[in-house]
């Protein structure tokens, strides 16, 4: 503090230390942010470069070709994944929203906490365990099927949809519920006619993010839906192919063409997941702008 008389506002050694620490913290967080972005860029670019050779219309319109031949595609896997995800969503969306509605609108505080805890645990269960569970429940004895795969995926989606939905239910103003109840609406009617319509943007966002998450899931399908399908099948009673498992199978193949096909499939999957994630953000920001302010 010797320099105080000369320049009272320049600060002393202690202030210089504080400034250095602050600058250091800023630099570290900047570096961390850079690493996170860099990893994404490296993944996207490397997958694109390695798969570019196999990226063609054939990839989307043809099924796999025999060993050694070129020009095969993953049509059966694209159709299979689309169907698996659609079936899983049709199970998980209503289930997840109902769980959220119960926990947030009806359950006593203690029960709601328990439900939330269970959802968090379920969200953390390794997906291979979900696959094994569905295997023992549905596949053992009766064989693999699209339904079994969809059920496994839906078990993974439910906590995602439920937690996301509950977050938006919490943002619906309590005054809207009161307005409805004061008009003589029952609680269920209030949820159906006021709360859910107000929260629909957020629920859609949560669902899209859950779709993005399970579209690339491999482990839950390993035991439940086919890994070697080479023909197009849309019957969920029979096993359905999937992009993620095609990538797995192709990359295990001794055929170098198959390797390239795996990279191309990975790129397609990645672009799909990125696109719907960005789409979900757009829906979310629009919902905030319009319905929930």
């Amino acid at each position: 503090m010797t320099g105080r008389e000369a320049s009272p506002l320049s600060g002393g050694a202690r202030l210089r230390r504080r400034r250095a620490a602050s600058a250091g913290a800023e630099l570290l967080s900047l570096l961390a942010a850079f690493v996170a972005v860099a990893v994404l860029v490296v993944v996207v670019v490397s997958i694109f470069l390695k798969g570019a050779g196999a990226l063609s219309v054939h990839l989307f319109t043809r099924t796999p070709v025999p060993f050694g031949e070129t020009g095969g595609g993953i049509e059966q896997a694209l159709i299979g994944t689309a169907e698996l995800v659609a079936l899983a969503t049709s199970i998980a969306l209503p289930a997840g929203v109902l769980v959220a509605v119960y926990a947030h609108e009806f359950a006593p505080a203690g029960v709601a906490r328990l439900v939330r805890l269970c959802l968090n645990v379920l969200a953390g269960v390794p997906t291979i365990v979900v696959g094994i569970l569905v295997f023992t429940l549905m596949v053992k004895g009766s064989g693999q099927s699209g339904w079994a795969g969809a059920l496994a995926l839906s078990i993974i989606m439910v906590p995602l949809v439920a937690r996301g939905s509950e977050e938006v239910l919490a943002v619906v103003p309590a005054t809207l519920r009161e307005a409805s109840l004061a008009l003589g609406a029952t609680r269920a009617r209030t949820v159906l006619r006021v709360v859910l319509p107000t929260a629909v943007g957020g629920i859609v966002t949560a669902t899209i993010l859950a779709v993005a998450r399970v579209a690339g899931e491999t482990a839950p399908l390993l035991f439940t839906s086919s890994i070697a399908a080479t023909t197009v099948n849309t019957d969920p009673q029979r096993p359905l192919a999937s992009v993620a498992l095609s990538i797995f199978a192709d990359s295990e193949s001794p055929d170098p063409h198959a390797h390239q096909e795996a990279w191309a499939a990975a790129f397609v999957l990645l672009v799909f997941v990125l696109a719907i994630s960005i789409g979900a953000r757009l829906v979310a920001s629009r919902a905030r702008g319009g319905r929930l302010r």
Partner: protein, 302 residues
């Protein structure tokens, strides 16, 4: 009417000089002579509260309040923050049922029927006793759907658009919204939103309308419009209005009840909302019977 003169309008243990105020015909005449003849019709209780006490857990919000709400009159509840006026209001249509931990004792009789009695459905109570809240809370739906909400709820679907128009007219909003019935209600101004909420409540034709500080979130011009509206509505519906604004009570209310936070038990720390004085608005403001009322209306506290 017959029994009202025997009924204490303020808690007995208050030793209130105001006790039985409303049974003094002279006091009423003074007020009613200045108003239109139609309003001189006799007082008829729509709702009778007797020894109503509301607790939130251990805290007493409203302590032993007894008063009558009279048909086709505007009754104002005034008093400082925390005096329980909103809580009391919410016991009338059983909105306190929704507050965890709220316990209501005493009797609230609507046309002689205990609203908390066995066999009474709160849904039906809330249909008959409408409510308008402190902040405008239109649903994020169209103007039309907001007003139609209660009508659809209660199956009043014949001539829906006619009923919606009628409710909007009664709320003095029709001319402003008739060309934008399909537009989202959140696009209306705050004052319009609040009148929409009034229209929404009026649409199901309640005979008692509870208003919880309906103008406190509005600008002065919107407030004036709401107050004008209240005076118009008085002939059609009974209104209870909670307000922080004493001038507002003086402008719109026929009867005013003054509440205060007072010790409610032997313990000085146990305090809750107590009804101090209830009577014709003019009398309460110009010749209050209780010292505490006088202090409040003259701005000495609160």
């Amino acid at each position: 009417m017959k029994t009202r003169s025997e009924t204490s309008l303020t808690p007995a243990r208050d030793a209130a000089p105001s006790e039985g105020l409303l049974s003094q015909p002279a006091a009423l005449d003074v007020l009613f002579e200045q108003r239109s003849p139609a309003e001189a019709e006799p007082l008829e209780p729509v709702l009778e509260a007797r020894a109503v006490t509301v607790r939130y857990g251990a805290a007493v919000a409203v302590s032993d309040v007894s008063l009558d709400v009279h048909r086709n009159r505007v009754t104002a509840f005034i008093g400082p923050s925390g005096c329980g006026k909103t809580t009391l209001l919410r016991t009338f249509n059983r909105m306190n049922d929704l507050v965890p931990g709220a316990v209501v004792s005493g009797r609230v009789a609507y046309h002689g029927v205990d609203v908390n009695g066995a066999g009474v459905d709160p849904i039906e109570v809330r249909r008959r006793i409408g409510m308008v809240f402190q902040r405008p809370n239109p649903f994020p739906k169209s103007v039309f759907d907001n007003v139609a909400f209660g009508l659809r709820l209660h199956g009043l679907k014949d001539d829906l658009s006619g009923r919606v128009e009628e409710a909007l007219r009664r709320a003095a909003l029709w001319d402003e919204v008739k060309d934008r019935l399909g537009k989202n209600a959140l696009g209306l101004s705050g004052g319009q939103q609040q009148r929409l909420c009034i229209a929404r409540a009026l649409a199901v034709e309640p005979d008692l309308l509870l208003m919880d500080e309906p103008a406190s979130a509005l600008d002065p011009i919107s407030t004036t419009r709401i107050e004008d509206l209240l005076r118009e509505l008085r002939s059609q519906v009974t209104i209870v209005i909670v307000t922080h604004n004493m001038q507002q009570a003086a402008r719109v209310a026929d009867l005013t009840a003054f509440f205060s936070v007072e010790p409610t038990g032997g313990d000085e720390h146990e305090r809750g909302g107590v009804l101090i004085e209830y009577g014709p608005t003019e009398q309460l403001f110009t010749r209050p019977a209780d010292r505490r009322t006088e202090d409040y209306v003259t701005g000495r506290f609160g």
